[in-house]
Each structure stands twice: as C-alpha cells, then as structure tokens.
C-alpha cells in the first residue's frame, strides 16, 4: 500500500512538473470522461487517445481532463469549467453529454466542441463515433466457426441502437456461416459492474453458450470464459491478458489518430463542424490480433476485414429480414443507410429474444 502510494506520488510529481513547464500560448485541449481513467474500458481508451495526442503534439498543446463526470446536471458545469479554464477544443466522450455540450457550445461560439457517439451538431460542435458494427460482423463470422454448441452468449449493457446494431451484425454474420446459430442475450443494465458481468457470463455459459461476446466494459466476462475453458471477444481494449487462451479478438477503440487529426486542424485553423463516423478504414477502431483460432478461420476474418475496408462487404447488406419475418426497407441502395443503423431498434430474424422496450 505504502509502495503504491509512493509510486503514485512520484507519478503525480512528474505529471505536475510537466504541466508546470507548459507555456501560456499553447493550445489548451480539454476532455470530459464518464468513468475513472483506470476503468480498463471506455474511459481508459479515451485517455489512451489523449496520451497519444500528448505524445504527438505535446510541445504545442496542453491537455486537461475531468474524470468521473456524471451524465446528469453536473456535466454542463464541468464542460463550462473547461471552457473557462481556457480550453479551446473540448472532447466530451459519452453519449449523455450531448445536450450539455450543445448548451455550452451555443454559449461559447468561439470554442470548438467534439461530442462522441451523439447526433446533435452545431457550427462549433462536431460529432464522432465509430462503426463498431463492422467489427461485430467479423466477430460473428469467427463465433459461428468456433462455436461447437451453436449457441453464442451476448452480454448487453443497454438496448440502445449501438448495442442492438452490434447484436444484429453479429447474427447476420453468424447466420451466413451457420443458419441455425442461436444467440442468448442478457442485459446487464450497466456499462460497468465486474461482478454482475461475471455473473451474466456464468449464466450464459451454464445455458450452453460456448462463445461469449460482451458490450459491457470490464474484462470480467473474458476472465470467466477463460476460467471455464470457453472462448470470448474483448471489448474497448486489449483484454488478452485476462484470457490468453480465450480471446479470439477484441474491438479496440483507438481514438488517438482522430484526436491528433482534429487538434492539428484546430492548430492550423481549419477545424470545422463535422460528423465523423469512422469505420475500420478510418482507424477509429481496430481489431486486436486474431488469436486462439485455426489458420483458416483467421484467414476468413482477415479477408472479411479487408473486404469491409475496401468497401466490398457491408454488414447490413440487403435483403435483411426482421424478427417479425418482414423484410426491412432498404434505404441505402443495397444496404441499410446510416440513419437506419444509427437508430436501429429491431432484431433480425433468428434472434429468439424480445428487444426490451418494444
């Protein structure tokens, strides 16, 4: 305990001296985080992005973050505090910061804002997110190949479109390999509760699932799957440490390149409000190395990844049949359009579960 405190103190000391050295004319860039920077998941990855930014442009910018900012009434104040502290470009990294960010953005037209995973924009407020469903599609292919029981276990956080589209992409891919594949879905109703996520993973395995997929943020499901000798996919970050013989791959949030790009634009005076919804081709996220699978499966996954990047493969390629047996309207030509994916509120055929809130 003492040792760690000392280590921590030294660490903070170093951090302090770095910030003290910063000059006043540096561009100030602020971040608002939902969790603690040590959550090993969502916030951790955003902070890794921030650190990549510091590494790349550390001599021109100064970064500040506020962690553990709840998505309630405090968010607006926290964002405004960053503005008042002189930050000129502010990243708000959770969906729930959408309205507070917009309110503050309207109040301070000379400050630029970047909101993650939302859909409201302003001349000084961009949005950015990643097409994680592409990664989920690849995972679905692998899962169907690797599952012996033909039952996949899926731990959901909340039935929002991002998660629902992930489940659908997984199942569409899995069905293309094995038309009879089943998925069992458990909603944990939390983004982050290692104990509960572990319990959900256990329940899924006990009910016959042999490949565990998660859309919650802790490495607990991976660790349980590893303990039980099953397979699993990581989430947000590299989780292979928690399942060296278990992790097939993981969807890695890699915000660094985007942050660097946007800050460079800000420095150059070319920043403008945009809607960036980056796929695998944009480096907004990446797939962790494909591990614990035969070479042919690995090759299939890599081919699919290449096809998606090349634009030859679209996870939501029509025709798509909904759970009710009716075909889904195809607004994007030969695939669903972005609006349909961003607001996805239906299951595809073959999912036995009922979508909550429907």
């Amino acid at each position: 305990m003492r040792k760690s405190l000392l280590a921590l103190a030294t660490g903070l000391l170093l951090a302090g001296s770095v910030s003290a050295a910063s000059a006043a004319d540096k561009l100030k860039v602020g971040f608002i985080y939902l969790g603690p920077i040590g959550d090993l998941g969502w916030t951790y990855q955003h902070d890794q992005g921030r650190l990549a930014l510091v590494k790349e442009l550390g001599d021109k910018i100064e970064t500040t973050y506020l962690e553990n900012v709840p998505e309630g009434p405090d968010a607006e104040r926290s964002i405004e505090q960053l503005v008042r502290a002189g930050n000129k470009l502010i990243f708000t990294t959770s969906f729930g910061y959408m309205d507070p960010t917009l309110k503050v953005a309207k109040k301070y037209p000379n400050v630029h804002f970047e909101h993650a995973t939302g859909y409201k924009r302003n001349p000084n407020m961009s949005t950015y997110s990643a097409r994680w469903y592409q990664g989920r599609y690849i995972q679905g292919l692998i899962a169907a190949k690797m599952s012996k029981s033909g039952v996949l276990g899926y731990i959901g956080s909340f039935p929002i479109p991002e998660v629902v589209s992930g489940i659908n992409a997984t199942m569409l891919a899995a069905q293309s390999i094995n038309p009879n594949i089943k998925v069992k879905i458990i909603w944990a109703n939390t983004w982050f509760d290692p104990g509960k996520e572990a319990d959900a993973a256990k329940a899924l395995i006990d009910q016959g699932a042999d490949v565990i997929m998660q859309h919650t943020d802790s490495p607990a499901p991976m660790q349980i799957a590893s303990e039980r000798g099953k397979l699993a996919f990581g989430q947000d970050s590299e989780m292979i440490k928690f399942g060296p013989k278990t992790q097939l791959t993981s969807i890695l949030d890699t915000w660094g390149p985007y942050y660097i790009e946007r800050v460079k634009a800000e420095l150059a005076g070319t920043w403008k409000s945009e809607d960036s919804w980056g796929g695998l081709d944009s480096h907004m996220f990446a797939m962790a190395p494909y591990t614990n699978m035969p070479d042919e499966v690995k090759k299939m996954a890599e081919d699919a990844q290449a096809a998606i990047i090349a634009g030859k493969l679209h996870p939501f390629k029509c025709p798509i049949v909904g759970q009710d047996g009716k075909p889904v309207e195809c607004k994007g030509g030969d695939h669903l359009d972005d609006g349909q994916i961003l607001g996805m509120n239906f299951y595809v055929k073959g999912i036995d579960d009922k979508l909550p809130g429907k």
Binding site: A15, G72, I160
Partner: protein
C-alpha cells in the same frame, strides 16, 4: 491513557460558532500534508478549492445551483431525523418526483398547453415523492418493518423504473432510440434568474423552504412535537403525542421535498428526463443534514459549503491536475473534522489515565 467525553451542562454557544473554523483549520493542515506528499503546491491547491470558486460570479452561481437540491432534500430529511424517523431513501423519492413531474411535461409536449404546466409538474412531483416516501413509513407504522431498509431498497426500484421509462415508453421518438425524453417545452422548464447563467427559480424556492422549516420548527406546536418525539419518546407518549403519526408526516414532507428537488433538477438544469439524473443527491443530502446540525439555517450553510468543495474540486482538477479521488478524500476528511469538532459543543474532551479511574455506575 484514554479519551473521555464529559457532557457539558449546556450547549456551548461559543464553540458552536468556533467549531466549524477549527474543523476547516484541521482540514487545511491535513490537506497541506497530503498535497505535499502528492507533490502539489499546497497553497495553490487550497486556493483552488476554497478561494477561487468564491471570487467570480459564475462559480458563485454554480455553487447555488449545486446546493439547491442538496439543501431542499436535507431540510426534509432533518425533520425526519429530528422525529427519529430514518429516511435514507431520499434518492428514490427524488427520482420518483422527477418521473411524476416529467409525465406532465412529456404528455403536453408539442401541444399549446399554457403556463399551468410547470406548477402542475411541481405539485405532482411533490405528491409523488411524498407517496413514495409513505411506503416505508406505512410499512414501519403498520408492520414494524425497518424504514432504513425499505426506504433504501426503494431507491434501486425507483432508479430502474426511471430507466425503463426513458428506454421504453417515454423515449424521444426523434432521438435515435437513445435513452432520453425529448427536450421539455419552455412552459415545462424552470425559468432562469440570470441571463446567460444557470441560476434558476429552484434556488428561490429552496430559500422559501428553509424559511418555512425554520418557522415550523421554531414557532409551531407541530415543530415542538417533532423535536420532543425524537429527543424524548417517553415524555412524548405521556404528552399524548403520537409518534406513528409524526413518522408518517415527516416522511411525507421529506418525500415531497425530495420529489420537488427531483423535478426542479430535471426541468431546470437538465431540461429532459434521462437515466442518471442524480449524482447521489439523496445520499449527499444526508450528510448535509447532519453537517447543518439538523437546523434549517445550518443546512443552508452546510449545503453551500459542500457545493463549494465540489466546484473547488473540479477547479483543482483542471488547474492543478489533482485527481478526483483526492477531492473525495478531502471531502471525507473535512466531514470527519466538522463532525468531530461539533462534538465539542456538547462535550468536553478529557484525557484520563485508567489506573486512576474508578468504575462507577451510571444512571
């Protein structure tokens, strides 16, 4: 050697005034040590925590905004605690109030409903909060079920109920299925007091509530009854006061205030109903109630002070990169010192040596 408390013949007025200052002094000393260990400049840190937020109008407004729900809830809780009724589920009553009030906002959305909307929301929220608080109160009075437990359990239930509503039936139809209602109409929004700021009508309402509580406790029979039932239950029984009825009453009042605080937060600073509308206000308010010594004016001061540490903590995080955990430790230590020093009002501290001490029976 042993620490012994000796009861003062009467409350010490001087110490009542001085003790918060001693507490702040001790906190400062402790934090200076902690900051030094963490390698932060202690003077700058203390400035960020205590002074900087008080030096500009913006931060002062934010302190008032943050303190508003805390004080509102804590006033209600203090009545409960004075009457020896242990409502620790104000968080749940806060959420249910927010839900009930939002129901009107959601129902009237996009219609030409007039100025009656906001008052109706406030009334319904208070009523719902009171009813929700009555569940533990009635379980206590009728069945003897511990109100501490039932009120706490109902927090989780309220939280999940709200969650269900905003992810299901009340979801904004144009919001890409994200879990939130649409932004409330202007008639369903708590008006702001200062252009460009965040100070809202709720801060005025809370001042009225503080005044009303002061009058209730200081000048009415009911207030006297509440104090007696809490302080001397046996005397109260002889005096013909009905403890059960007071439990129901104080729970209802505190539930109503918590519900009111809930809808004011939602229809004020937030502007729509969503999950996570409360960063634990209902629990923090319990501390505010005790920091304020269960006295309405004391609670007002305590609420503002605690709000100051939140705002200051944020500014320290920005200005000096002090981790949030340090702010939590700082808050915890501060609370301990304030509570410990308050003990001086009622007791004298003495160090005695056990071998000289003769065990004596106490009455």
């Amino acid at each position: 050697m042993q620490l012994v408390l000796e009861k003062r013949a009467e409350r010490s007025g001087t110490i009542a005034l001085v003790s918060p200052l001693i507490a702040v002094g001790l906190t400062i000393v402790t934090m200076v040590i902690l900051f030094a260990i963490l390698g932060k400049n202690p003077l700058l840190a203390l400035h960020a925590y205590f002074i900087a937020p008080l030096t500009d109008g913006y931060s002062l407004q934010e302190i008032a905004v943050k303190a508003t729900p805390l004080v509102m809830i804590a006033i209600g809780l203090s009545l409960c605690y004075l009457a020896n009724a242990w409502n620790i589920g104000a968080e749940g009553q806060f959420l249910i109030g927010a839900v009930a009030g939002s129901w009107i906002a959601v129902r009237t959305q996009g219609t030409d409903a007039g100025a009656w909307v906001l008052p109706a929301m406030l009334v319904l929220a208070a009523a719902a909060g009171a009813l929700y608080a009555l569940i533990p109160a009635i379980c206590k009075v009728k069945f003897g079920a511990s109100e501490i437990l039932t009120s706490l359990m109902l927090v989780y239930v309220a939280d999940l109920f709200l969650d269900y509503l905003v992810r299901g039936p009340w979801r904004d139809p144009h919001g890409f299925n994200f879990p939130t209602t649409a932004e409330f109409d202007p008639v369903a929004t708590v008006p702001l007091l200062i252009e460009g700021g965040r100070l809202h009508l709720g801060s005025i309402i809370v001042l009225l509530v503080v005044a009303a509580a002061a009058i209730l406790l200081g000048r009415t029979i009911k207030g006297f009854e509440i104090r007696v039932v809490g302080a001397a239950p046996r005397a109260a029984r002889f005096g013909g006061f009905k403890a059960d009825r007071l439990i129901i009453l104080t729970f209802a009042i505190s539930g109503a205030l918590a519900g009111l605080a809930g809808i004011i937060e939602v229809a004020g600073p937030i502007g729509h109903l969503q999950p996570g509308i409360s960063p634990g206000y209902g629990f923090t308010a319990i501390i505010v109630a005790f920091l304020g010594r269960l006295n309405p004016l004391g609670i007002l001061v305590a609420g503002l002070f605690l709000a100051l540490t939140f705002i200051g903590g944020e500014q320290a995080q920005i200005a000096m990169k002090i981790p949030l955990d340090v702010t939590k430790v700082f808050q915890g230590i501060l609370l301990f010192y304030v509570l410990a020093c308050d003990s001086l009002i009622l007791y004298r501290f003495k160090l005695v040596f056990p071998n000289r001490q003769v065990a004596r029976g106490a009455g």
